[in-house]
């Protein structure tokens, strides 16, 4: 990546933005900056295919940096960009989040993005009342992956924003036969359990 080329593309408008607003050049620059701020131990990224779609179930969500940390780790380990579902929920930052690859938390949108062969990340929700472990994941989003026969991999992330030290561990893809609402629930629960195991 050469800074002059990036700057040239910014000036003449020839940079690429996809239909959800994902900006390749901007994301590349932000990932490079993330490596100065964070020190990330990454493990298990052999489970993320080099090409083709994959759905990452990411947990637990304690602070605000987890999605960005996983995005930076995925980029450095596999060279692929991750599209986090639901990271564009805050109105004021929606445009910027979309530029960095966020997509809406919506079954049909997730399905469309998976069809393009992308890496999609789904976040565990936050526990509001101090329960331990990762919060629940929306099985509807998992069903999009099952419908399209896309592998589902659990990802455990932990660390501290103050120290900037993080560890990201990717588990083996969850194997489950079948589609439908119950299969989605089974895969979701298995992903949640695997995240707990990876954290231990």
């Amino acid at each position: 990546m050469r800074i002059s080329e990036l700057a040239q593309r910014r000036v003449d408008g020839t940079f690429l933005v996809d239909e959800w607003g994902f900006d390749h050049d901007l994301t590349r620059v932000m990932s490079s900056l993330a490596s100065f701020r964070w020190s990330i131990d990454a493990d298990g990224f052999q489970h993320v295919p080099e090409a083709g779609s994959v759905l990452m179930v990411i947990g637990p969500r304690v602070k605000i940096c987890e999605p960005f940390v996983v995005a930076a780790a995925t980029r450095s380990q596999t060279g692929r960009h991750i599209r986090i579902a639901g990271a564009d929920r805050v109105g004021a930052t929606r445009g910027l989040a979309r530029r960095l690859g966020a997509i809406p938390h919506d079954l049909r949108e997730v399905r469309s993005v998976l069809r393009t062969g992308a890496v999609v990340g789904v976040l565990c929700t936050r526990h509001r009342f101090g329960l331990p472990g990762p919060g629940p994941v929306d099985p509807a989003l998992i069903s999009a992956a099952l419908e399209l026969e896309v592998p589902v991999v659990p990802v455990a992330v932990r660390g501290h924003e103050v120290t900037g030290r993080w560890s990201v561990t990717v588990g083996a893809p969850i194997v489950d036969a079948g589609t439908g609402p119950l299969a989605a629930v089974d895969v979701t629960e298995q992903a949640e359990r695997t995240i707990v195991d990876l954290l231990d």
Binding site: D12, G13, E19, W20, G95, R108, E109
Partner: protein, 341 residues
């Protein structure tokens, strides 16, 4: 001709009119309508074409008949259509605000034109298909709306143009249900191209273009030639469905402005009122659906188009934008100056 009529095209129950294919179309005087009419003329399976509009066609047409009438003139519209006894009703009489007419006139022409033309077609027992021009503006844009809506999404317009398009769609549903005919609703991304009157095209070609400052959302477009080709396919195939028609890919306002070598000016909040006023003085009034597109983006899931119409756009959104700026400005010649023919 007979052998060509048995080609793998689904003309449906044309036998009700002795096997003839007669197309009545509104909006023939527009750039899109004229292009569609000339493409339909070249199809020998079509026996007759009747066009209506308030302006005459942009180019010479060989076979098509044209009746000049205001879409708001109920009697003239109804008489022309019922006398013609069409087998297909192609409704392109959708007037984008500030494209060919002022915002108010455009809305009135669109609304009343749809009521009279589609109402008249619903009275004709010969009609077996309705093909309607609509736009992806019908989905609306806000934080609660889908980012890239597919055809199954509820239509919740958030602009004047979107609202009137939703009205046209509803009128067409009623008309098609009355006749038991198929209804194809083509929801186009903003149509732009050389010579195509479009408020967005005009705006992007201003020397200095106001845009939202940071991280704008992208929009998709469709080239006028691709739009015309999609309409011709829809007349032939007539799927009973709504179809989003947009070019692949998207651009942000900043990107579009820079691709044309124009100067972007960041504008926030109430400053848009001033920006719109200045733009109108410069000859490019900006209707609310264009401001919405610039501030909130406008894309749609167009993946169903290849299945439903067995056709795909030939130009990407980036190519459409690039071509928009390649449209050379008018060069005035001096008396006696020698130029190549």
């Amino acid at each position: 001709m007979g052998s060509e009529r048995s080609a793998p095209l689904r003309w449906g129950a044309t036998a009700v009119n002795g096997g003839f294919v007669r197309i009545a179309m509104t909006g023939m005087g527009g750039e899109l309508g004229t292009r569609v009419a000339s493409l339909l003329e070249s199809d020998p399976r079509i026996d007759a074409i009747l066009g209506l509009d308030c302006d005459p066609p942009r180019r010479r047409l060989q076979r098509a008949k044209f009746a000049i009438c205001d879409p708001r003139d109920r009697d003239a519209v109804v008489r022309a259509i019922t006398d013609f006894e069409p087998t297909a009703m192609l409704h392109l009489g959708v007037y984008e605000p500030n494209a060919r007419a002022s915002a108010r006139a455009a809305i009135e022409r669109t609304r009343q034109g749809a009521r009279y033309a589609l109402g008249a077609a619903a009275e004709c027992p010969t009609v077996d298909r309705f093909i309607i021009r609509s736009g992806i503006e019908v989905y609306g844009r806000s934080t609660s709306h889908a980012a890239r809506p597919d055809e199954s999404r509820e239509t919740r317009p958030t602009s004047q143009f979107g609202e009137v398009l939703a009205e046209v769609e509803q009128i067409s549903r009623n008309a098609a249900a009355t006749r038991g005919a198929s209804l194809t609703i083509l929801r186009f991304a903003p149509i732009v191209g050389p010579h195509f009157p479009s408020p967005l095209g005009r705006y992007l070609r201003l020397p200095v273009v106001p845009i939202p400052p940071m991280a704008e959302l992208p929009f998709a477009l469709i080239h006028q030639e691709d739009a015309a080709a999609a309409i011709v396919r829809a007349v032939t195939v007539a799927p009973d469905a709504a179809v989003n028609v947009a070019a692949p890919g998207a651009v942000t306002p900043y990107q579009a402005v820079r691709l044309g070598g124009r100067v972007p000016v960041p504008v926030v909040g109430p400053a848009w009122v001033v920006a719109r006023a200045i733009s109108a003085v410069l000859g490019s009034p900006v209707p609310d659906h264009v401001v919405e597109l610039l501030r909130r983006g406008r894309v749609a899931d167009w993946s169903a188009v290849s299945d439903l119409l067995d056709w795909q756009p030939t130009r990407s959104t980036i190519e459409v934008v690039t071509e928009l700026f390649e449209w050379a400005s008018v060069v005035y010649l001096r008396d006696g100056e020698e130029v190549a023919a």
